[in-house]
């Protein structure tokens, strides 16, 4: 198992890099396609930056104009599906989230990604009134990143329990969970008084506890199942004769011909 390294500053400093690893850069091209050029010209006032990436149009917008831009994309440019929407955590780097909406035009077979930056603590406008699919996507974004969404009909956690604390997809959230997460089921079912009885989670899959005589036994120091741990008396092991092979046993006589 690789040694655990604290990942609090994961964005500032890579905690693990392959010697020969090269970060792949996706080439960004000019907008040349006629359809995408028309999309850019329609949205000219709102677009900060636009380029082509892997055959898709990417447009960067201001975080206050996301509803208007997506409405224009839907009603004027034929992007009738919002196939994915979420956020990326750039808090350590810029104290901002990057939000994106992946739009699909089925008739033209074209995709547009709408991207905006959102400072921490700010809310974004919901596009639920345009696309019903945004309902769950925005709830998931709220659940995983804590980004609040204005005008959402039912902004509630969708994956984690309602009484959960913390937002697991933030880069600062530990993979094994924080204090709250590690005791969640014990606190909820039995109460905090049971923490001592049940004990902390075992996060090491190769953990060996020699004092646990129910699940482990040491050769030569065997005690009865569940008995007291014994570190003193070593008992010689007696092997059964039937399992020993006698290599000096004389070979049986082989007859040359059948009698």
């Amino acid at each position: 198992m690789r040694k655990y390294v604290p990942k609090g500053n994961v964005q500032k400093k890579a905690y693990y890099t392959d010697r020969f690893h090269v970060v792949p850069r996706v080439p960004r091209n000019e907008v040349e396609d006629a359809h995408f050029a028309s999309v850019v010209s329609v949205l000219k006032a709102d677009i900060k930056e636009s380029y082509m990436e892997l055959g898709q149009l990417v447009i960067h917008i201001d975080n206050r104009s996301n509803f208007d831009v997506i409405k224009v994309l839907k009603e004027e440019c034929g992007y009738t599906q919002c196939s994915e929407q979420s956020a990326v955590d750039y808090l350590a780097q810029d104290n901002e989230f990057e939000l994106f909406w992946q739009m699909l035009n089925v008739n033209e077979a074209k995709r547009v990604r709408v991207v905006c930056r959102l400072p921490q603590g700010m809310a974004i406008d919901s596009i639920e009134s345009l696309f019903k699919s945004a309902n769950f996507a925005e709830r998931e974004m709220f659940d995983m990143f804590g980004i609040k969404v204005n005008n959402h009909p039912f902004l509630k956690r969708i994956l984690m329990p309602d009484d959960w604390e913390g937002h697991p997809l933030l880069k600062t959230y530990p993979l094994h969970g924080d204090e709250f997460a590690s005791w969640y089921e014990v606190d909820k079912i039995f109460g905090k008084a049971y923490r001592d009885i049940i004990g902390p989670e075992n996060r090491d899959p190769s953990k060996i506890d020699i004092e646990d005589t129910k699940r482990f036994s040491r050769v030569g120091y065997e005690v009865p199942f569940g008995g007291e741990y014994n570190s003193d008396t070593k008992e010689e092991i007696e092997y059964s004769d039937t399992f020993l092979v006698n290599y000096n046993k004389p070979k049986s006589k082989t007859l040359d011909e059948r009698r």
Partner: protein, 180 residues
């Protein structure tokens, strides 16, 4: 020629069988173990296969019941997420005594490969387990073997229910602790 009356007296002398109450009760309990129809993840697919005609749990008197009130055994088949742990425990509490638990597969035993914030690291943190069945996922034959081992265990224990209700949960810290 069909015999209309079993002739007890001619074979064993008298129509009497001698046994103890423990043995009689445990004979009944172990030969009609009714598990709860309760699947959590992919192990549940193997559990369903065990119940179907190829592997045929029914021949062992094991019939899946849809209600915890009618079930004796809880087979925790799959990954138990922390969100769901409350409901798993509630189902366990709703089962009538005596009741037994089989933890099926790596995820239920230890959390398995889901070493994350959202997975219960072993169902024995919330429910006392009788049989731990390793595997990812265990074959239906091994689930049936686990059920047979559970039958063996039941036949050995006392029919007095009070003894069955309290089970140790000491493995985590090594402390002597009881979870009812």
């Amino acid at each position: 020629m069909a015999q209309h009356q079993v002739n007890y007296a001619s074979t064993a002398g008298l129509p009497i069988a001698l046994t103890s109450v423990d043995k009689l009760v445990n004979w009944g309990r172990s030969n009609s173990l009714w598990p709860l129809t309760y699947g959590l993840a992919c192990c549940a697919i193997e559990m369903m296969a065990s119940g179907d005609s190829r592997y045929d749990f029914d021949r062992m008197g094991t019939i899946f019941r849809a209600s915890p009130r009618q079930a004796d055994v809880m087979i925790l088949a799959g990954t138990l997420s922390k969100k769901h742990s409350e409901f798993a425990r509630r189902l366990y509490d709703q089962m009538t005594e005596p009741k037994w638990v089989i933890s099926m597969g790596s995820c239920a035993n230890t959390g398995g490969m889901f070493n994350t914030y959202a997975t219960v690291q072993g169902v024995d943190r919330i429910i006392p387990v009788d049989i731990y069945l390793p595997g990812c996922a265990p074959r239906p034959e091994t689930l049936q073997y686990a059920m047979m081992m559970l039958q063996k265990k039941i036949r050995k224990e006392s029919a007095n229910m009070n003894k069955n209700t309290k089970q140790d949960l000491t493995h985590q810290t090594g402390k002597r602790a009881r979870l009812i």
